[in-house]
Amino acid sequence: MIYWTVDPRKGYGTKVIQRASLKKDSHGEPGARFCGLEKMGNDVKGSKKMVMVGWAMGCSLLFLTVVFRAGMTRDGMDKALSRVAGRQVRPIELRVWDWWSPAGNEEYGAYFEEVKAIFEERNPDIDVVYQFVPFGHYVQKLSTAMVGQRPPDVFQSSVYWAEGFYHRGMLRPLNDLLESQPGEGPTSLGESSFMESAWRHNHTGDGVVYGIPQIIDANCLLWNLDILEEEARKDEMIRDLFVRREDGQIDFDRIRFDGIRDWDHFREIVKRLTRFDERGQVKRAGFIIQAYGGGGGLFSPWLASNGGRYQDSEGREALFHLTEGVQAMTFLVELYWEDKVSFPFRRQLSGTELFVERKAACIAGGTWSGKDIARDTQGWTHMGKTAYPPGPMGKAPSTETWGNMLVISSSCLRVDAAWRYIQFVCGKEGNLLRSKHLGYNGPRLDFYETPAWEKSKEDRPYLSNVKEICLSGIKLRHTEIIASDHQANPIFETILLQYPDIREKKQPYESVRNALEQAAGQVNLVYSRYNLQKDRWLAARGETRS
C-alpha cells in the first residue's frame, strides 16, 4: 500500500511503500507519521485480514478446482458427486482418442457432444471419455500410452499408421466381433456394408480386419465454378464441362464427373482458363502446381489416373518409377514449364487461397475440401469436384482414396463397450451425424441412399460427384508413408524445380525417369527396413509372415 510520510530529517513528503502496521519510518526512527491516515490504521489492519482471507479462499478454490477437474482425480470426483446426488454411476469408462478436436473447430465439439449424448443414452453403463491428441503427436503419444499400459480403448487411426500399428501388435483383430454379428443393416459393419474403396486400408492380405472405416477421403480436382461459368459463356469447350438439366439448360452449379476426357483435354482447358498480364506473368492460373513439400501427394493421383501405382500391395517395392509414373511426372512439369498454367513456385503459395480469391480455376484438393472452403469463406460453395482424367495409359478417371478408421487397442479390456461404440459411430447413424455436423460423406453404401444425403447434395452441389470420385480411386500409398515421403519428396521437388536442366540432360539427373528411379531406390530401402522390422514384430508374437 502506498502512503505519504513526512521525514523529519528531510522535511518534505516522501512517497514510500509501507506496511500498514509500521509506526516508524524506514530508518527505524520515531517521527515519521501517516498524514491523515492514523485514523485509518485499524481499518487498514482489518482490510488486510480480509485480503488475506480472500487470498486464502481463492487459493483453496483454485486448488479444489484443480483436484476436481484434473485428469487423475476427475473421474473419482465425478463418480463421488454422482453418488451424492443420487445419479446413476456408469461402471464402464470408455476412453476414445481422436485428432479431430473441438479446440480447433467448434463443429467437432457439436459432433462429439451429440455422439456422446445419443450413445450414452442408449448405453447407460458406458461413460465415453474423449481425449484429443494432435495428429502430429499421435504416434508418439499412442506408443507412450501403450508402453505405459494406459492406451485408449478406441481411437481413430489414419491410414498413415494403421498398417504399422497392426503389425506392431497395437490393434485388436476384429474378425471375431464381425463374425458374431453377421448380416445387413444400419449397424452392420461387414465388408458388404462399405464402399470397396473404403475397405482397403483396414485389413491384411490374409483377411485380418483391424479397423472399421469411419470416413472415406479421396484426392480430387477442385474447380472454381465462378471462373468456369464466366468462361463458359464464350467457350464451347468449357461450357461442355457442365451438367445439363433435363430441359437442356446448363446447370452452372454442377460439373460433369467425366467432363474432362483425358490429359490432353485437361491441358487444353487449363490453358484456356489461364490469364496473363501485359508483362506475360500469370495473373490467373488454370491449375496450381506446387513444388515444395507435397511431392508425393501432388504426383500420385496423376499416377493413379495413368494406371500406375505408387507401391505394390505388400509394401516391398516402389512402382512409381515405371512408365506410368514417368509420364505423369513429365505431364506435370510440362504443364508448369511449357504451358505455364500455374503461378511461379513459391513455398508460401496456397492453392486454396488463390482458389477462393478467383486467381486459380483448378487446384488439387480432396473430397473433404468443400466444407473447409465453405467455412473459411463464410458460405461460398460455387465449386465442383472431379476425379483426375485418364492419362495415356489410364482407362478411366481415377484418383487415390483412403478410409481412416476406428480401431480397438490390443490391450483394451472393455471390448464389448468398444465394439458397441464402433457399431454406433461407424454405422449408418454415425455417418449421418458426421454429414450433419462436419459435412463428411460416408464410407457406407447405405449412407448414399438416405434422404439426408440427397438433401446435402441439393444444398451443396459440389458434393454431386463425391461418391463417384470415391468409387473410382485406387488405394493410397500405405507403407511407411512419412519415411518414404522423406526419401522421395525431395527428388520430386528437384524434378519440378529443375526440369529445364534435366530436360537438357545437364543436372542433377539425366532424365525424369532417372530421377524417379533414384527416388524409387531410396523408397525401396525404407520398405526393406520396414519389412525386416515387421518380421521382428511378428517373430516376437510367434507369428510368421503370411
Partner: protein
C-alpha cells in the same frame, strides 16, 4: 588454516553437527542434482545404450547390433547424416559470424547510451522470449515477401540463419553488455590520456577483456546452432532439395516418423554430440583465457 582446524575440532566433538555440516550442502543441491541425473544423465545413458541396439520404442525390446547404427549413419546410401552435418555446420559458422557482427556492435552501441539503455535492452531481448514456433511462422510469411529466400537452395539456409540471429541477438547482446560493464572504466581513462582513439580502445581494451564473454557466447551459440530444429520443421522441412536438412531434423524424422528406428536416431544424436564436443573443445583451446591485465 588455523580457523579451519579449530572448526573441524569443534565439529568432531559434536558428531551431529559434523554430520549436519557435512551433508547440508548436498541436501541443498539434491533436488537439482536428482533432476539432472534423472532427466539428463540417465536419459543420455539410455540413449547411448539404445544407439548400439536395434530398438523398438513401442515394444521396448532391443537387439544388440554393435556399431551398425553408426556405420549406417556414416556410410549407408540412404543416410542423410553427412549432408545434414554439413548443412548444420554451415549454419553454425554463419550463426557465430552473425552473432559477432550483430550482437557485439549492438552491445557496444547500447553501452554508450546514457538514457533509455534498459528500454533498448528490453526491446532487443523481446525476440528471445517469443516462442520459436510463432517466430518461425511469422518469418515464413515474411520470407515470402522478402525475396523468397526459402524457395532457393542457395538462400534457404541463410534465411534460417537470419531468423536465428533475430531471435538470439538480444540475448547475446545482454551477455556482451554484462561483459562490457565489468571492464573497469579507468582502463579507458588511462588509454585516453595516452592518446588512444576509439578503435584502439576497442582493439586493446574492450576486445581482450571481453574474451571470456566472447568464449561463452560463441560456445553457447555453437551448441544452440547445432541443435537447430524448430525453424527447419516449421519453415522448410529440410527443403528445398535437402538444402536445409539439419541433423536435429534428421534425428526427429527417424526417431518419431519411421517405425523401429529409435536406435539409429540415437546413434545420430550421439554423432551430433561428438561433433559439438569436438567443436567446443577446439574453441576452448583456441580462446583459452589468459590474464591480460592486473
Amino acid at each position: 588454516m588455523a580457523g579451519g582446524q579449530r572448526r573441524n575440532k569443534v565439529l568432531r566433538k559434536n558428531g551431529r553437527s559434523f554430520l549436519y555440516a557435512a551433508w547440508t550442502p548436498y541436501l541443498y543441491i539434491a533436488p537439482a542434482l536428482a533432476l539432472t541425473v534423472l532427466f539428463s544423465l540417465v536419459s543420455m545413458a539410455i540413449s547411448l545404450y539404445v544407439s548400439f541396439h536395434h530398438y523398438d520404442a513401442f515394444a521396448g525390446k532391443s537387439e544388440l547390433i554393435g556399431l551398425d547404427n553408426y556405420r549406417r549413419a556414416l556410410f549407408s546410401q540412404d543416410s542423410y547424416f553427412p549432408l545434414a552435418l554439413k548443412n548444420t555446420t554451415l549454419y553454425v559458422f554463419l550463426s557465430v559470424a552473425g552473432v559477432l557482427t550483430l550482437s557485439l556492435p549492438l552491445a557496444l552501441l547500447c553501452n554508450q547510451i546514457r538514457k533509455g539503455q534498459s528500454l533498448f535492452r528490453t526491446l532487443y531481448f523481446l525476440p528471445s522470449i517469443t516462442p520459436g514456433v510463432v517466430v518461425a511462422l511469422v518469418f515464413f510469411h515474411l520470407f515470402g515477401v522478402w525475396g523468397q529466400l526459402l524457395d532457393h537452395r542457395s538462400t534457404a539456409l541463410v534465411a534460417l540463419v537470419i531468423l536465428g540471429l533475430w531471435s538470439g541477438a538480444g540475448y547475446n547482446m545482454v551477455l556482451f553488455l554484462a561483459g562490457l560493464n565489468e571492464i573497469p572504466g579507468h582502463y579507458y581513462d588511462a588509454a585516453k590520456v595516452d592518446g588512444a582513439n576509439e578503435v584502439q580502445q576497442f582493439r586493446h581494451i574492450t576486445f581482450p577483456l571481453l574474451r571470456n564473454t566472447l568464449v561463452f557466447v560463441t560456445v553457447m551459440t555453437v551448441i544452440g546452432a547445432y541443435q537447430v530444429f524448430t525453424s527447419v520443421y516449421i519453415m522448410s522441412q529440410g527443403g528445398p532439395e535437402r538444402s536445409t536438412e539439419v541433423v536435429a531434423y534428421t534425428i526427429f524424422i527417424n526417431a518419431f516418423a519411421v517405425a523401429g528406428q529409435m536406435g539409429y536416431a540415437s546413434a545420430l544424436a550421439w554423432l551430433l554430440f561428438l561433433a559439438v564436443l569436438v567443436f567446443v573443445i577446439v574453441q576452448m583451446k583456441v580462446f583459452r583465457s589468459r590474464k591480460l591485465y592486473d
